[in-house]
Symmetry: D2
Subunit: 388 residues, 4 copies
């Protein structure tokens, strides 16, 4: 595993739990975690149960005893590491977003295609696909439960930027983060929409905005002179994106990604409406799926609150009895299960790098639309911008 931040902790839970709770077709050894700070990464390895730590990822991917590379670094390093790992013949799991630019994502997808010819597998970490309720939502759509899709309404709402005193961290600076709410959380609702509907977002119109434009500089002492940064600096990424997508069938989908939805902590919601029914999901209540069945008797139609904790629901039988809920982290175990299974069975896991690239293209198209008075932009036809 390359990287050891918050995502490193979550991926570690996935690797630790999956072989203990599921019947995997192969064993999992948590071999080595890699980071630039030797002491910190050694601490992480000890805490999370990795056998070793290392500071040079190139050395690690060159090792014969490494089969799989899990990349959880910031987005700007994904392309270099993932391409190198694939070329070294390692299967790759890469945290989302696939990259910070379409060009990088394209290069990664190309590398993945070449590697696939040699039986090397790659996967991008849109873990929310593997929340059981989301997987089940997708299954129900695929089985025709909502019929022909008329519209989709998706939002990802957080509120951690509402506080104007929140300092200007690296996530708020374009040169480091590439994008703000759009790329970080907007990416999830684009992927989830494409995943659950089986349709692609083909064109977009939208606007990105920065609500609080200046924030306090982080006051850590810096530089040779020991001066402390003071005053305010400019926020150079979006903190709110509102956009509309045209799906491949012509249906419209509305999207909102925001960090200013006061009181909404991690509120990804999606609703798929069709001529036979509707399905909706909310990440803050992740064991629940709501299903409206228009084919039921009229007088008793309504949204049914399905507690997705039954043995017949996706992934659930490996865990606890009915009514015993799962949490955020379980998707990381499911991701590990599916990736290991695909590798052993010799199939290509999903979401593929191509799917990650398609999300990246939608993000770029949204930015281009926003820069062009919200004119509609065809996904894939966007003029790529320097940062995307």
């Amino acid at each position: 595993m390359i990287g050891y931040g918050f995502m490193g902790a979550a991926h570690s839970v996935g690797w630790r739990q999956a072989p203990r709770m599921f019947d995997l077709p192969a064993g999992v050894e948590m071999a080595v975690v890699v980071g630039r700070n030797a002491e910190a990464v050694a601490d992480a390895a000890a805490r999370w149960g990795w056998q070793e730590s290392a500071t040079d990822w190139r050395e690690v991917i060159a090792r014969d005893d490494i089969d799989l590379v899990d990349i959880v670094t910031p987005g700007d390093s994904h392309a270099e590491i993932a391409i190198a790992a694939l070329e070294a013949g390692k299967h790759v799991l890469c945290e989302k977003p696939l990259a910070n630019t379409v060009e990088e994502a394209q290069a990664m997808a190309d590398a993945a295609a070449r590697a696939a010819e040699r039986g090397i597998r790659s996967m991008v970490g849109f873990t929310y696909r593997r929340v059981p309720a989301v997987t089940f939502l997708r299954d129900l759509v695929a089985q025709g439960a909502v019929g022909r899709i008329a519209q989709v309404r998706a939002a990802y709402r957080q509120d951690w930027l509402v506080d104007p005193d929140m300092p200007l961290g690296w996530r708020l600076q374009k040169e480091h983060a590439g994008s703000g709410a759009l790329g970080d959380i907007g990416a999830h609702i684009i992927d989830m929409t494409q995943f659950v509907t089986g349709l692609s977002v083909d064109a977009v119109s939208g606007v990105v905005d920065t609500i609080v434009k200046e924030r306090p500089l982080q006051g850590s002492g810096t530089g040779l002179s020991g001066t402390v940064a003071e005053g305010y600096g400019e926020v150079t990424v979006d903190d709110l994106a509102i956009f509309t997508g045209r799906l491949s069938t012509g249906a419209l989908a509305s999207f909102e990604a925001t960090r200013f939805a006061t009181g909404r902590k991690n509120d990804l919601s999606i609703e798929v409406s069709g001529d036979k029914g509707a399905l909706r999901f909310d990440l803050e209540d992740l064991n629940t799926l709501w299903f409206y069945d228009r084919t039921a008797p009229e007088a008793t139609q309504g949204f049914t609150r399905i507690l997705v904790t039954e043995a017949q629901h996706p992934y659930v039988s490996a865990w606890w009895p009915a009514g015993h809920t799962l949490g955020y982290e379980h998707g990381f175990s499911h991701q590990a299960v599916d990736l290991v299974t695909a590798i052993v069975e010799g199939t290509d896991p999903h979401p593929s790098f191509d799917e990650g690239l398609s999300v990246q293209r939608v993000l770029a198209a949204v930015e281009e639309s926003s820069a062009n008075d919200s004119a509609w932009v065809r996904v894939g036809a966007e003029v790529s911008s320097p940062t995307r």
Copy 2:
């Protein structure tokens, strides 16, 4: 009262109940209801408790014993009737939308301004403002409960067009209805946004769409030859509108008006997010207001479900004890109370015709944006279209 459809029933409840439940500063006599079909309008008068019925609205507004004209006809006749009534010195309550075009709405607002100089009052029937939870939401925003508004998320979702066999009624034909979901239900969320925030929607970008483009002609036998209409006809109004507004402070607001949200019956929802808190409301649960207070102690922050049935909540003390809920129709009583009070007290009631006109302008701007690749259109600067 001119007109006697569904809105006539609702307005009649308002006029019937208001003087019985509230201390009005003047009495209310339900004098005469007007319609073109003498027999049908006589039936309506008898059923709803109007003293008389009539077929010629011009005669009625000329009567000395009529003080107030309540217009509940389709939108294309609003301007003619309202302007005539105002010029005849009658106070006017006009059902929303104010008119089918900006030009008509402008003429009505001009007539209202002239009438106001003579003490004649006019009001447009955006009744949802007077759901107690909505009025209270506005009051809380005005008191600073959410602080500076960062964003608004509003939607009005119904599903009565999901059925592809729903016939091509007049509401689905542009020449009669003027507009579809946008003008009928989109108007409500625009007005509510402006009402509760105290801000105006200054520019918009959006798209309107027609999901089911052909519908069965209504098969009622017609004409001397007794032929029955057969086959399919074109739906010429939108059934889905998604748009983004720029408020006068620069904050963004997202809007969705749809008749294809399967399972959503009459689901107007609004959420106002600010740096001190958030407020949200849902019309399908109309006695409830949700309030998030960022100034509360951190560990116990959350959305508070306020049951807006306490005596200190707007309008409630005239009705029932705490916990005894109100319904859809009560807003019509509150509208009657506020209008009668304003007339007696000599003040201008709200929403004024100017406020109705401002909604009309936003609607026209959305249509223009949609026709122009979703480019942003400044409200009031739109090139008016023939139907709006």
Copy 3:
């Protein structure tokens, strides 16, 4: 109508609205309202739209032009008025609880039986039966939607006595009120249980309690000396009752009636569980019915939130389109509709005085059980107490 308190207002809405919104088989004239205070009752008549007011109920029930007597006085006068009215050949609607004692209730049921032989109808006002969602719940149970009933869970929770400074009003004094939470709100959940299940509560075990035992005397000047009551007085009725009932099939039902459920304003809830499904209802959300269908496909089972506002739902077609909600007061209109219809059609309306008596017997049995260490008491076999 005899009486003009809070219930008088609610019944007046019912009589006023029913003939305007429903097709009644006979007209309704709101003839005369009766109260002891001539001025106050005249005000009530004027406000609520009754043609006359009067102070002597005996005179009124003797009038030939009166067909129906609606009794909304406190419970201790129900028996005398109702029996006199029935004997005078008037149909009677009597507000719940039917009486303050089983003896009185029995005498009223006997009088109703005698009157029925002469075609005179009587009905007790358990209006919550006529909330559309409750009627529909009963219909679904009767159709077998829950199968064989395994258990019932019912509660009526309010919080208006939580405040220790709430003064010692007449409702808290046994000599005036007869009973506290048990008789006032416990009666509702007993009746609703019997109504929706079609089963009788045959035996009970339970406890009643008084949480705050002393309260401030109400400081109204009293007596010749003009002294103001000061200090504290004893609360002589229960404010909390918890009891278990054995239904006629042997199934158990749990009941709780309380005025100390902080934050619960008017929260009547009931859940009926059977081998084919379950149904639940909550009065604070009265347009909604939750239905769990065990015969549905396993993976999509869950509680379905039915918005009971469709035209095919009970009573709804007379009101508004789907999704337009009703409130507390609409049950009073439905009660008027059903009573007038029964009178004209010559059938006995429900709930009958016998049904009211059966509730009274359960209440008495609960009090007896509580007084006897919560021993089980067969309903109808209770040793009747002086106050019940």
Copy 4:
């Protein structure tokens, strides 16, 4: 760890995750898991990551390298194992219920008291105390957030016995299980009530019942003759218990434990009402706590939905950012953390065996009350029954 059923899996997650996510004051080695079937327990050890497996628990507790014994066997073996382990100087974690009878529980509590004098710690596994929302509920009560407690309403509702074809497993036979819904899930709501209120249940009145009295015998071929069990056998434990408790302050608490609440999967709910506020929790939505604050401004009072995922909430900072939810299993990690911490710090962990004993006494008192016409039974004064 002695035992390796469903609870073995859950405890294993706790031991596996706790040292990886929390800063423990001592390391945790998952040494040996013990079961009677050598092959099966070896499989469990391999799967769950225990270093060894063994078949003789007496040998294991005699080992010098074992510090802590975790007992997850059925209740009838708890006393023997726990007492032996304590006498062997091992710290003990014993799954709930502490034992199948009061006598056994008493003996265990006595052994724990003796062991405590030697610094040996013991703890009973009421893990739901350590759901963050429950711990936080307790903290808020302790801080006075609800004021003086007026009443408690607790229920634990499941539905897995609704199906009449569910076979007669060991859990439905008194000789093996001791008790049914009462002892298994009723125990949880008794413990939780005592935990969150800080009060004891001092007396009870109640009824236990068996709704489906006969069930199909499990058809596994058995015995030398190879005969298959056929036909129906008697269910000898309760499947529904409804009881009322008198708390040490005199306040009443209502309890319901059932396996016939159709549609309720694992629905433990509790509501604590006091003169300053109320708190409620529902296990099917375990990241949420509802708080009603009567000291807030009246017009904005309501139940606040607190998402208990903030860093300042109990246990949460070790896991994920705000809004990222936890699940059922996390309580087992928290239990491990608190037990290890107590052992290292030399303090007695909670719930102690004395607390487990107190729950056992309440259970016995409920059974005695049920057998005595629901007469009130003082907890601790019950005549103990053979099976409890």
